[in-house]
């Protein structure tokens, strides 16, 4: 078995740590690129959302490198993600690839027995002992927590740094080095090392940078290729940004959701505008916007793929939040046809607007 999986931000580091720990052979698809998207758009249904297309590109590129098993997560919410697996299995078969799909789904949909059977398909290949397997899983969770924390710090400090570009280069170096690591323990060591380095970069606490919250659909905000590296761009502009949705948040949220104590703050803040979960991450999007406004952020940028059903609902609510709280929000829709120049222009214009709002105090009256 040679496993592979679709990309989503830094998840590949955690999966690498997990599969390294389990001793399973794997292929990491090439980082998302134009070719992957082109392959995806060529074969995918016309109106499906952007993540699907990129994932198909990932699979094809990984299969070319010898992968034969695809690990994928499902869901049974009203959002389209839950139907991906069925369509993708059919599509890959039609393209002539003989692949084995392992779909990790919620137990409430497929039953706990089926879930264990599917997990066993992965872990059964490994010849490690049970406690080593558990250890590998814990290491993977630690990796995803660390890399998310490092990213969050780098994005926040980017506005305060004394040496311009330090955060960005540290972050990129960190990812590259972690990718080269041989064992999970080594990777954790590297990540911890970089976390320390980031903690002690020289920052100017008196600076008052523009702060922007990134909200929206989870795949497009986490996967930098699909949002044209918006966070790196903001770092270049010397803007602090924060993104609430991350893979580690997702793990925490999924683990706590049966007890209904997940992301309490978000749900509390969103309640006034959207009281019922409607699938996808619409409640989170609304909650993040309100939270960001309460915490004194200058503005928020919502990103979602064209046709995303839950985010269309939140997009229609955001203008009200913007009016109520005097908080600028911009919505960006991405798909495979999005032109980068127009996209950058809009981001720059939005930043200009935020800057002028600050200078012109009267505008807040």
């Amino acid at each position: 078995m040679k496993a592979t999986f679709p990309h989503m931000g830094n998840v590949y580091l955690a999966v690498k740590a997990l599969l390294d720990g389990l001793g399973i052979d794997y292929v990491i698809p090439p980082k998302n690129n134009k070719t992957a998207l082109d392959i995806g758009s060529l074969h995918s249904p016309e109106e499906i959302c952007l993540p699907y297309k990129i994932m198909i590109g990932n699979y094809v590129q990984a299969v070319e490198q010898g992968a034969d098993t695809i690990i994928f997560v499902g869901s049974c919410g009203p959002c389209r993600l839950g139907e991906y697996c069925e369509l993708q299995i059919n599509l890959m078969k039609k393209l002539g690839y003989n692949l084995n799909f392992i779909v990790i789904d919620y137990p409430k949909d497929i039953g706990i027995k089926e879930l264990f059977k599917r997990i066993n398909e992965i872990s059964g290949v490994s010849n490690k002992k049970a406690h080593e397997k558990l250890n590998a899983l814990l290491n993977a969770i630690q990796v995803i927590n660390l890399i998310d924390k490092i990213e969050e710090m780098a994005h926040m400090y980017a506005g305060y740094e004394r040496n311009k570009g330090e955060c960005k280069s540290l972050l990129n170096k960190c990812k590259n080095e972690a990718m080269q690591s041989k064992t999970p323990i080594e990777m954790i060591k590297i990540l911890k090392n970089y976390q320390q380095k980031l903690k002690y970069i020289s920052i100017d606490i008196n600076k008052n940078p523009i702060t922007i919250a990134i909200i929206g659909e989870i795949y497009t905000v986490i996967e930098p290729y699909s949002n044209f590296y918006i966070e790196e761009k903001l770092m270049d502009y010397g803007i602090s940004s924060r993104r609430g949705l991350s893979p580690s948040w997702w793990v925490r949220n999924a683990a706590l959701s049966p007890l209904k104590i997940n992301s309490y703050k978000i749900r509390k803040n969103a309640k006034k505008y959207l009281s019922i979960p409607i699938g996808g991450h619409a409640v989170e999007c609304i909650g993040e916007a309100v939270t960001a406004s309460n915490e004194g952020f200058d503005g928020a940028i919502q990103i979602f793929p064209m046709g995303c059903m839950p985010e269309i609902v939140s997009k229609s609510i955001l203008p009200t939040i913007s009016k109520d709280l005097d908080f600028p929000v911009m919505s960006l829709v991405v798909d495979d046809m999005t032109g980068e120049a127009g996209y950058i222009t809009r981001i720059e214009a939005f930043i200009d607007l935020l800057e002028r709002r600050r200078e012109d105090v009267l505008s807040r009256c």
């Binding site: 109106e47 009203p78 699938g279 046709g307």
Partner: protein
């Protein structure tokens, strides 16, 4: 008290319930007009750009009656069957409407879980108190409304000529004659009989669903897929027309699933949005029926591909 019911989305399937319920409670019920150009224009003006055509039209209906009623019903239909959903936009429909349209009258936005008689009654109880405090009256009204819902038959099953097609799609696309530009009468004029999903029994639909890797979690996906595949494999129809609104997330999945399953069976997708030209639709429908006719005439011939 005047209760306003917009004639959009699932109105076509469930209007007897809503109308009877509020009439029995003693309220006056008004509905908006049938969809027309003005309503579409209002909808496009008020709704977010990214939404699909039926949602925009619903906004138009709301705007057209918002000044004429004291209480408006915006049904937030969460679930029709257990463990199944409808489109997320239905769950967030009241939010979409209330945040896009100003000066709205008081609205009823309680979530409807139409899983069983009891869960639906829970909705009726909370909603009924907005009109009257007489619980006996609410119970009575609910019973009447439920009866009228059970007795209400929708669906088209023509017994015309020799040719028959299956018309698949969301109910609001099939029954709103403005959205689909009188597709059914156009087909009938061409001598084609139409069958819709309502006449396929549930167990036949479920038989088809069992062949899938994963059970679809959208009610309409399950029904439409099951019906289309069943009609095609049993050769009850000569072709399938799927009427879908542009950018519909659910349709993008179902159409792929159906196409995968039925192979080379004649299948036409009609996309509608607020710019669709009637001439284009007509041409495509005529071409499709011509093709079906030729297929029937040449049926005994060996197909060219093998």
């Amino acid at each position: 008290m005047i209760v306003g019911i917009p004639k959009g989305l699932l109105y076509y399937k469930y209007h007897p319930f809503l109308i009877t319920f509020f009439k029995e409670l003693g309220a006056e019920v008004i509905t908006s007009e049938d969809t027309n150009k003005d309503i579409l224009d209002l909808g496009v003006k008020y709704c977010v750009d990214e939404a699909c055509l039926p949602i925009k039209i619903f906004h138009g209906h709301v705007v057209s009656i918002k000044d004429k009623c004291d209480l408006m019903v915006i049904p937030r239909i969460m679930q029709l069957n257990k463990n199944e959903f409808i489109c997320p936009k239905f769950c967030g429909l009241p939010e979409m409407v209330l945040n896009s349209i100003d000066n709205m009258p008081p609205t009823i936005t309680d979530p409807i879980y139409a899983i069983s008689k009891n869960t639906l009654y829970r909705w009726a109880k909370t909603t009924g108190t907005r009109v009257t405090h007489d619980t006996f009256k609410i119970k009575h009204a609910y019973k009447k409304a439920y009866e009228s819902l059970i007795n209400h038959q929708t669906g088209i099953n023509d017994k015309l000529n020799n040719m028959k097609i299956a018309l698949v799609g969301h109910p609001y696309n099939i029954y709103d004659n403005y959205i689909n530009m009188n597709l059914v009468s156009k087909l009938n004029k061409l001598g084609v009989a139409v069958e819709t999903m309502e006449f396929t029994q549930d167990f036949l639909i479920n038989l088809e669903i069992n062949n899938l890797y994963k059970k679809p979690f959208w009610t309409f996906a399950r029904e439409n897929y099951g019906f289309a595949v069943n009609a095609a494999t049993e050769k009850r129809v000569d072709g399938i027309i799927y009427i879908s609104s542009f950018n519909c997330g659910i349709d993008s999945v179902i159409i792929e699933l159906i196409k995968d399953r039925i192979g080379s069976f004649p299948f036409l997708t009609l996309k509608v949005d607020e710019h669709t030209g009637e001439a284009g639709i007509e041409t495509r429908v005529e071409a499709f029926t011509d093709m079906l006719e030729r297929r029937i005439q040449n049926e005994s011939n060996i197909p060219t591909h093998g």
